[in-house]
């Protein structure tokens, strides 16, 4: 009974506060806008990191593995001789089809292609692949043109690369040094990292770059559980010096540098702004309390407890913050979600096209931060409200 009494007290005081909100429209609005700003910045900056991570972590299904030279942390610095590639393809656990083992020997190089937005040259990855590559990456499908023909200077380009870099439309010629590549098709993997790449026949690419070794072998396993056996077989083989990773793990590692920079900056900037917003909301709530000194004192004189007063002020602050948070989150979602961008991935020294992603996880964090801000912004004025000496407050004009 006492409890219900308490609840009804809280409700009564809160309603009283909320009804006076229109009179304090300016101050309340500034709290809402302040919090909305924080949430917008937080969500916008971190959506860069989320999008980048999503692009890389979606690249690679659990049943694909990647073989690099031992000690390499990216394809760029790896080297796999031809005979080693043959041993890898014949290893246990590799999926076999009528065409043979599903293992693609690949070479990963960088070509200078001008960025569409700035016109300056950017490091665009070019990947030489074998026919098995299309079996390893089942998600890949053509959206325009045709596949390149083996043995010819033809390339297909990822949709992300074609969007971000100039001169990669189907039918155009990509000139790189003394080499001319005919763009014959455009493909997509639905947002995976391959979308940023240019693909061609590895046997054409190798002599052009004077390489005698592949850099990686991408393998489709007969089953995802077969990874450990496949890895053990290769690492135990005295003829090989290789590092075997699941593709997914490799790409997750690749996203580390950029994600951590952006996350750091995002949290720093939003954190500073949050401090500012809390000041704003403290100001609002202090003035809210100040304008209602007499009402609050009257309630106390009527027998309302101190706690309902505290709860009512905090709940008003929480409500305003939450309103701001939802507003900011919504704006960030509509403006930034799916925004196409490209940046350099330091680990491979090459460009990655990706889309900003405002994920539920991000929004969840933002709402949590909003509630914390609202609480901090409300607690001090609330305590002051509860401590108002009844007699002197009633005597005031």
């Amino acid at each position: 009974m006492r409890f219900f009494n308490w609840i009804s007290q809280v409700a009564a005081v809160t309603m009283l506060n909320l009804r006076t909100l229109p009179q304090r429209r300016g101050a309340a609005l500034s709290t809402v806008v302040g919090v909305a700003g924080v949430v917008m910045v937080f969500v916008a900056v971190l959506s860069i990191a989320e999008g980048f991570r999503a692009t890389l972590s979606s690249s690679g299904s659990p049943d694909t593995a990647m073989v690099l030279r031992g000690g390499s942390d990216s394809e760029m610095v790896s080297g796999i001789p031809r005979d080693a590639a043959r041993i890898i393809a014949d290893a246990p656990g590799v999926l076999r089809t009528a065409a043979g083992p599903v293992a693609s020997n690949e070479l990963y190089v960088i070509v200078d292609v001008p960025k569409r937005s700035t016109g300056t040259s950017a490091n665009v990855p070019q990947r030489g692949v074998t026919a098995a590559a299309f079996e390893v990456r089942k998600a890949l499908h053509l959206v325009a043109g045709r596949l390149f023909q083996p043995g010819r200077n033809e390339v297909i380009v990822g949709r992300g690369a074609a969007a971000e870099f100039a001169g990669l439309e189907v039918g155009k010629t990509l000139v790189s040094g003394q080499n001319r590549w005919q763009v014959v098709g455009m493909f997509t993997t639905g947002g995976q990292i391959s979308d940023s790449e240019i693909w061609c026949d590895v046997d054409v690419l190798m002599p052009i770059y004077r390489r005698t070794m592949f850099q990686s072998v991408h393998v489709k396993l007969a089953s995802a559980d077969g990874f450990a056996a496949f890895k053990n077989a290769l690492t135990a083989d005295p003829r090989l010096d290789v590092k075997v990773e699941r593709e997914a793990d490799y790409y997750a590692e690749q996203s580390r540098a950029l994600t951590s920079i952006v996350t750091f900056l995002g949290v720093l900037i939003a954190g500073l702004m949050a401090v500012g917003a809390v000041f704003g909301s403290l100001l609002t709530m202090y003035s809210a309390v100040a304008t209602r000194v007499r009402e609050i004192a009257t309630l106390r004189a009527l027998g309302f407890g101190g706690l309902p007063v505290v709860a009512s002020v905090i709940s008003e602050s929480l409500l305003l913050s939450l309103l701001g948070g939802v507003l900011g989150g919504a704006v960030a979602y509509f403006v930034f979600n799916g925004y196409q961008a490209a940046t350099i991935n330091w680990q491979t020294f090459s460009q990655v096209a990706f889309a900003f992603a405002v994920t539920p996880r991000l929004l969840g964090w933002a709402i949590l931060a909003t509630l914390v801000m609202g609480f901090v912004g409300g607690i001090f004025p609330a305590v002051r409200a509860a401590r108002i000496p009844v007699a002197s407050a009633l005597r005031e004009v």
Partner: protein, 383 residues
């Protein structure tokens, strides 16, 4: 001066509001400082590039090597004073997360071409004579706790000894500093001769750096160098160090610029809100200002008082904000090796102070002019 107590009293009239306004301004200027440091970091050191240096890379891509034999041929090009080269090593110190960037260079010509690298004479001598010697910047040495004379084991990812072992042992011969603020000292430099034998393709280097006599002729000299190697298996692309650094910085692209836009927007929004509060606090005092006028304060003095008040608040709060940001950047790169340089440029600090002054002037001017034009009768009647 004698009006300062009055200004102070006015500011402390509603203490909470003044403090919160000041704190918002502090936050805004901390953001401003950090933003300018981020811009420097993402700018890839464009501001500190040498106007008299050209960079020569493989025409297809930076990752492709050029023959060592080009060195003498480039040196013979008219207008070229000196040539050096560098080669990315790509080694790992203990953990890939350590972000150590090693470059194999020709020590003597490299130090000549980069006078920004300051190395004590004794350390320089030791390095030149030590085939497996290396030098690093102070931040890197501090990050890993290295001292001169330490042995540093690094695992090569590209380069291996003839017996296949990837372990390379370096001796720290020197710790270099720089005499030019913003010059990246995160590179781990060692002798090219040390890895020469380990190259898969012998006698290749990553890129060349040329020092030219007259920066005015940069374009012609670059064209001459590129013409020299046209139609060879290793064609080159030569550009000024600045152009190279700019193109490189643009590779970060959208991420850098979006963060910059967002922070700029935030900065001005906070200032707008704070400015509005400040202006409002003057408006509230219309009556008092009228009283002052009645007492004989002239219009200019009234305007001066209001301006002094807003400028004091903006400058003090802005100054504190900039100082805090500056202290933050003093600690160096907060991401441990991802951002090469991280500091607030001097001109940005000046711009910051000017912005604070501007904030004070604008927020004071609007209500101040109104107060100045105020007719005493109207103002007193309004109360």
């Amino acid at each position: 001066m004698r009006f300062l107590p009055l200004v102070w009293k006015n500011l402390m009239r509603r203490k909470a509001r003044t403090i919160f306004t000041a704190l918002s301004i502090v936050v805004a200027f901390v953001l401003f400082g950090i933003l300018s440091a981020i811009r420097v970091a993402f700018g890839g050191g464009v501001d500190v590039t040498g106007a008299d240096r050209l960079t020569v890379i493989h025409r297809v891509s930076l990752i492709l090597p050029l023959p060592l034999s080009y060195r003498d041929r480039i040196a013979a090009v008219p207008g070229v004073q000196e040539v050096t080269f560098a080669n990315w090593f790509g080694g790992i110190y203990q953990d890939p997360k350590n972000n150590l960037f090693e470059f194999a260079v020709d020590p003597k010509s490299y130090l000549d071409i980069y006078p920004e690298i300051v190395l004590p004479e004794a350390q320089k001598k030791a390095w030149l004579e030590d085939r497996s010697g290396a030098i690093v910047g102070p931040d890197v040495a501090k990050r890993f706790g290295w001292k001169i004379g330490d042995h540093i084991p690094i695992r090569g990812t590209i380069y291996r000894h003839a017996n296949g072992s990837p372990g390379w042992d370096f001796t720290l011969d020197g710790i270099y500093t720089t005499n030019k603020k913003g010059f990246d000292t995160s590179a781990f430099l060692f002798q090219y001769d040390y890895i020469k034998e380990a190259q898969v393709r012998k006698d290749m280097v990553g890129w060349y750096v040329i020092k030219i006599a007259d920066p005015q002729h940069a374009a012609q000299i670059a064209a001459r160098v590129d013409a020299l190697f046209a139609n060879s298996p290793f064609e080159t692309k030569t550009a000024t160090e600045k152009a190279f650094a700019e193109a490189f910085a643009k590779q970060i692209g959208d991420v850098g610029s979006i963060i910059t836009y967002i922070v700029t927007a935030v900065f001005f929004t906070i200032l707008l809100v704070a400015g509005n509060t400040m202006a409002q606090s003057v408006r509230e005092r219309t009556g008092e200002l009228a009283v002052l006028k009645t007492l004989g304060f002239n219009d200019r003095l009234i305007l001066g008082l209001v301006l002094l008040e807003s400028c004091c608040l903006a400058l003090i709060a802005g100054g504190i904000g900039l100082t805090l940001a500056w202290l933050f950047t003093l600690r160096g790169d907060p991401t441990h090796g991802y951002l090469g340089v991280f500091f607030i440029a001097q001109q940005d600090l000046i711009v910051g102070v000017l912005l604070a002054l501007l904030l004070g002037a604008i927020t004071g001017l609007l209500p101040g002019v109104r107060a100045m034009r105020l007719r005493i009768v109207d103002a007193l009647r309004r109360v």
